[in-house]
């Protein structure tokens, strides 16, 4: 059981689709990984690719794509609305199934080392893979962008984790890291009062005293006269969907408001919903290995 990780590399090209296609091809044609999605933004001049597979293969495919991007993109000529610092700007690994965050950190180090040594590009480890607290946040690393890095990299605090302490003139610098899967989860209420949704969101989200791995805000559903608590579940293993759901239900009670329903926007790892079934059914000794589809794809 090799497990599955997801990888969402961002490349600094969103206008020349031939270039984007050549980079994406490195992933699309790589045996053993699955291209799930990619999107191109001309204003941002940036492409975001989502793929998944067994960790070793994902690392290999990500390296091949980064090498291709380094050969095709010239950061000294790049302009775009989105902050950026490298041809391959950022590569996060995300544990999906049978892989721990610690293992994803190891994979990000492995990839970072290869990009540094074999491609000669300075690499910064970020988020869960960060080697220093001030490098945890991607936007802190990226501050100053490509143009500012020629100075920034000379600062001891910004010595790269891998590769030369010198900006690659064409490929810039790259951040590689590990983070949790983000589930977009919304709970709808039978009221049109946005203040109630905001008050509940405040109780549920981490920043104002709620669940550690939940971001939340109230949102008005236009044309429906209903509101929802819109959430980003940034670590569903630690702050579960059912916990957020039940907490919202409880808070709504004080306003005499009911939960009408909830929705998941986009993709969700199987485990996030299995956990909910296991909670409500009070399942004992349940293992994900009992899931038939999991056994089939082992």
């Amino acid at each position: 059981m090799p497990g599955i990780i997801e990888c969402v590399p961002n490349f600094s090209e969103g206008r020349d689709l031939q270039v984007v296609e050549q980079i994406v091809d490195e992933i699309r044609n790589f045996q053993g990984v699955k291209l799930l999605d990619y999107s191109v933004d001309a204003d941002h001049n940036r492409a975001v690719v989502t793929f998944a597979g067994e960790p070793e293969k994902v690392v290999e495919a990500a390296f091949n794509a980064a090498r291709k991007a380094a050969g095709l993109i010239d950061m000294s000529k790049h302009k775009g609305g989105h902050p950026r610092m490298g041809a391959t700007d950022v590569i996060p690994f995300i544990p999906i199934s049978e892989v721990t965050m610690e293992e994803c950190v190891r994979y990000s180090r492995e990839l970072g080392r290869r990009i540094g040594e074999e491609l000669g590009i300075p690499v910064y480890l970020y988020e869960e893979a960060a080697t220093q607290p001030h490098r945890k946040n991607l936007s802190a690393i990226r501050k100053g962008e490509y143009e500012g890095f020629f100075e920034k990299i000379k600062d001891e605090a910004w010595k790269p984790d891998f590769g030369p302490a010198e900006v690659h003139p064409k490929a810039g610098v790259t951040a590689v890291g590990a983070r949790s899967f983000l589930v977009a989860y919304n709970v709808e209420l039978d009221t049109g009062d946005i203040e109630i949704a905001n008050a509940i969101a405040k109780r549920v989200r981490h920043i104002s005293g709620g669940l550690r791995y939940v971001k939340a805000m109230g949102v008005m559903l236009e044309g429906k006269n209903r509101v929802q608590v819109s959430m980003n579940m940034v670590d569903f293993q630690k702050s579960a969907l059912y916990t957020a759901f039940e907490l919202i239900r409880i808070e709504a009670g004080r306003y005499g408001v009911n939960v009408v329903g909830s929705e998941i926007v986009g993709l969700v790892p199987m485990e996030a919903l299995m956990d909910c079934a296991a909670y409500y059914l009070r399942l004992k000794d349940f293992s994900m290995d009992q899931v038939l589809e999991k056994r089939i794809h082992e």
Copy 2:
């Protein structure tokens, strides 16, 4: 998205493991299907194989295994404790993912036709694939067993669906059909009173007025002073796990008894638990295509 079906062929050999291995190899080595389990019973003189994969490939692998069994097993010399009528005794297809029961019925007809025409073995379609009501139940077909079929097959009511109206002297006759996946699901109560478990089981099971696709009985958990309602969920899409769980909870209430927990024994299709999560979270517009693992394995 070709979907996935499961197949659980039963072969009339449980003593000569070399023979069993040769039959199982036809499935194990077939590219594109996954051998999930097989068990051999010497008393029954019978082997049960479980595998799954894309329908067309499962049909092909099942055919190959049936052909191999026909070449290796001689029913005229077979003895065993389990009723049997053919070298390949029975082949059920079970819809798992993105495949309807109707499609499984078509696949069972396709396989039945091939076994009849290419191997010269009489084939009876059973369960959901049955062409006549009296052939729905497998035990009705199997009545008289191999030895009795030389007479039985002459009866117009037992003319085979495919193949010659004559017992294959070595391979006997085979039943091919389609049925639902069976989930073994137990709900534990905080009482040691087996009569309460039995009374609840009676309310929940189909035969005595309960849910259409649930079989249930009370079971004493030895050494725990607790009982459980032990169930076979024979069609979880129509009679859902959460429905049975909630019904038991409601019935237990009249005895002042609580549900301690529940358990799934063995394998469970992802959808059976996803349905439960969707029910309790009141999920709207949720599609199984949103499940990341499903997208990855498409």
